[in-house]
């Protein structure tokens, strides 16, 4: 079955976190490396601070643009609670790379609920391969807090069998020219984790 040779990646977080750009760099990298690639995310209401899920799939030939539940190879979380919410997408052997960041949802902001404190434990119980990354901290080291997503992308890249060069080319193409250098070093920092 062709589906077996497809790698399924989910990028999840909160509207406004730059998930779409990250998934675009990822897809571009896959295309440059010679793979067929499809990706999907729903725009619209979710961009007003709601949950965002972006699906990226690559392989020799990809038909569906969405990842079936239980088939995700990599869950790439930009925010902890959203990472946890998307766990049902993950395969039993799947990897989780999550940003160590908590963005309180409206009910928590309004003091109706507490932000859950046991998220890392929940994630661990679903995935033996779980890496928590200090995206913001490392991005600061690279020269700009805003490059946190690229740090995370670097960490994710280690789970994918694609040469470094394609990643750097994709970053050059997708990121505004004045931010390319910062993003490249952010990417390499993440890749070095």
């Amino acid at each position: 079955m062709s589906a077996d040779q497809i790698t399924n990646i989910l990028l999840v977080g909160v509207g406004g976190q730059g998930i779409v750009l990250a998934s675009e760099i990822l897809s571009e990298t896959c295309m440059l490396a010679g793979f067929d690639v499809k990706k999907n995310e729903v725009h619209g209401m979710s961009q007003r601070g709601g949950s965002v899920v972006s699906h990226v799939r690559y392989g020799k030939e990809v038909f569906s643009p969405i990842v079936p539940e239980g088939e995700g190879d990599i869950l790439f979380g930009f925010e902890l609670m959203e990472t946890c919410r998307a766990l049902s997408y993950l395969k039993p052997q799947g990897s989780v790379i999550a940003n160590d960041l908590q963005i309180p949802p409206p009910s928590v902001l309004m003091g109706k609920e507490l932000y859950p404190q046991n998220l890392s434990e929940i994630i661990k119980s679903h995935s033996a391969d779980y890496i928590l990354v200090d995206g913001q901290g490392l991005a600061m080291k690279a020269g700009n807090v805003k490059a946190a997503n690229t740090v995370l992308l670097g960490a994710v890249s280690k789970k994918m069998n694609i040469e470094e060069d394609y990643w750097l080319k994709a970053i050059e193409k997708m990121v505004p020219s004045k931010a390319v250098d910062v993003n490249k070093s952010a990417f390499l920092l993440g890749r070095g984790i």
């Binding site: 038909f63 969405i66 946890c84 507490l114 859950p116």
Partner: protein
């Protein structure tokens, strides 16, 4: 040729460009919006936002009659608005090719209903193509322009959320440069649809549809692939791609043209397979026609009429028939036991809509609502919207309610509508309200932009889609000319003023219009929105009374000292706060203030 990863919408724009399209008109609506935002990059295409879908289609019709290839884009519910010209355009046919993009939203990711646009193709007798990925979006758009001219008909291309917003690899082609130059040509018998002429045109429409159905048998976009002969599945669009992964061995008839159906091709396919299925989202559009041909077929007995299909849903439905022993048992969702706080969308920090809903809530108004970012005023803690049906409906509904309720209750009725929505289909409602003397109050939330769909300009913004400065509609003057006597402009960040003016106008026994005058925080154009320095909360003065939480601003966080949710203090996120001042006005203890 160059290859790029494009979304379905980007690919449609590219397809229109390659097809030599000269005019593109539409009205924003998820998931169609990015098509025109991408035709704009091609200087050869005149791209514009119309105030609504009916006008957008009429502009495209004019361009087509003038001899140009014209594209028109809208979301599925937009076709309802454009349906009047659409049905008669079917009779006139075209001069330059005319392609209408109808973008459906199965699953209602951002829509008020999930109507199936294929029914429009059938009802209006117009051919409809349905692409399955971005490459097909581009190719089918090109083809649709050719078919439009060849068969003298508008052609609808139906996309959906998962097609328009998915990205996949597309190979670029050249733009056609050999099309005739547009010019005025009179042809009243074809273009003036009075009964005498229309009676002549109608039989031509029927003949055209028959011919299309016959030609559909050999069109390369309708394709039979025989694999395992036991199972044959007729499908189209994104479902085809889901199916190829769920049941890669199944034989398929992939329909690129979903209306009219190529009946002879369907018979041929049915003859070659043992059990026939139709896999389609929403209505049993294909299934009913196949059944009408007297062919045994399964479809909606397996798949829901509601919501979108996914590879998982398709897999499980086929598994449950017990006829597919190779399918693994359905995925057990072990992770869903964890209960997490929801994360619904929210108005942005500094959104000018917030104060109005706070006041409406306080005044216990009955709010007939409309569609836009302000529909989020329905959510707690603002909780100040009582109805929402379709764009422009707020004003008509307010008139209707005031016809039937007691005089005391009439005073509670307020219609709330955004600038883009008011210009879309609200003006007619206001004319009726004044003409038929409803005492209701209308609030026009003028934030200078069509925010919900991603900041598109509209006739009140002062700029066109191609970014040239233009006339901006003057709302007070417009309302005055309709005959509204009581027109007030308020600063929605001033809570006292907003509440006072609302209260006065609600109590008036005449139609009144209140217009808010602060811009959307997302407007990027210089000089429109200005961020003020962020506010802070004084820890000493904050008593933890929670008054500031009642506006639901994402920049204000309730910080608990320990694990007790009830005890805590407010905190303002300096990165998110725009300094709109609304929360300061709610604090009785003067704990909130500007920096220094």
């Amino acid at each position: 040729m160059m290859k790029e990863i494009l979304s379905g919408n980007e690919a449609i724009a590219r397809g229109a460009f390659e097809a030599g399209c000269l005019v593109a008109s539409g009205y924003p609506g998820t998931p169609s919006t990015e098509i025109l935002e991408n035709t704009v990059q091609y200087a050869d295409i005149d791209s514009s936002w119309a105030p609504n879908e009916k006008v957008a289609l009429e502009v495209a019709i004019g361009a087509s009659f003038g001899g140009a290839r014209a594209l028109c884009t809208m979301k599925h519910v937009g076709v309802n608005v454009a349906a009047d010209p659409l049905f008669t355009l079917s009779y006139t046919g075209v001069n330059g090719g005319l392609v209408l993009i109808a973008a459906d939203d199965p699953g209602m990711h951002s829509s008020q209903n999930e109507q199936d646009s294929r029914n429009y193709a059938k009802a209006a007798k117009i051919p409809m193509l349905e692409p399955a990925d971005s490459e097909e979006c581009k190719e089918f758009t090109r083809l649709a322009f050719e078919m439009s001219e060849q068969y003298d008909t508008p052609v609808i291309v139906r996309t959906g959320t998962r097609i328009s917003h998915s990205k996949s690899v597309v190979e670029f082609g050249e733009r056609i440069t050999t099309l005739p130059i547009p010019k005025l040509v009179k042809n009243a018998a074809k273009l003036v649809m009075l009964p005498g002429n229309a009676r002549v045109r109608h039989p031509l429409v029927e003949a055209r549809m028959l011919k299309l159905s016959e030609d559909g048998v050999t069109m390369p976009i309708n394709k039979i692939d025989i694999r395992n002969k036991k199972i044959g599945i007729i499908t189209s669009g994104v479902c085809y791609n889901y199916l190829r992964e769920v049941l890669p061995e199944a034989s398929t008839l992939k329909l690129g043209m979903v209306h009219p159906l190529p009946y002879d091709l369907i018979s041929k396919f049915a003859d070659q397979v043992d059990q026939l299925y139709v896999l389609e989202e929403l209505d049993p559009f294909i299934e009913e026609q196949v059944k009408g041909m007297g062919i045994a077929v399964r479809g909606k007995d397996l798949f829901s009429l509601c919501g979108e299909l996914t590879p998982g849903i398709i897999h499980d439905a086929f598994y449950r028939t017990g006829l597919f022993p190779d399918l693994k048992s359905p995925f057990e969702n072990a992770a869903s036991d964890t209960k997490l706080p929801q994360r619904p969308p929210n108005m942005c920090p500094g959104c000018p809509h917030r104060g109005v809903f706070y006041a409406l809530n306080k005044l216990k108004a009955y709010v007939t609502g409309d569609i836009g970012c302000y529909t989020l005023g329905f959510l707690p803690p603002l909780s100040a919207m009582d109805t929402c049906v379709c764009m422009g409906a707020s004003i008509g509904m307010a008139t209707g309610v005031t016809k039937v309720v007691s005089d005391e209750e009439k005073k509670k009725v307020v219609a709330v509508i955004g600038d883009s929505t008011f210009l879309h289909t609200g003006i007619n409602g206001l004319m009726d309200m004044v003409y038929n003397q409803s005492p209701a109050t209308v609030v026009i939330l003028d934030n200078r932009i069509t925010a919900m769909t991603g900041r598109q300009d509209n006739p009140a913004s002062g700029f066109t889609l191609m970014d040239s400065p233009t006339v901006a509609i003057d709302f007070p003057m417009l309302c005055k000319s309709i005959g509204v006597k009581n027109i007030r402009v308020v600063n929605p960040f001033d809570l006292d003023e907003t509440e006072r003016v609302l209260n006065e106008e609600m109590n008036r026994s005449e139609t009144s219009v209140i217009i808010t005058n602060k811009p959307c925080v997302l407007v990027k154009r210089e000089g429109v929105f200005q961020k003020e320095p962020p506010y802070t909360v004084s820890e000493e003065k904050c008593t933890g009374c929670r008054a500031c939480l009642k506006i639901g601003c994402p920049a204000i966080e309730w910080r608990t000292s320990k694990d007790d949710v009830k005890k805590g203090k407010a905190h303002i996120d300096a990165l998110l706060c725009t300094g709109c001042d609304v929360c300061r006005q709610l604090c009785k203890f003067e704990a909130i203030g500007g920096v220094n």
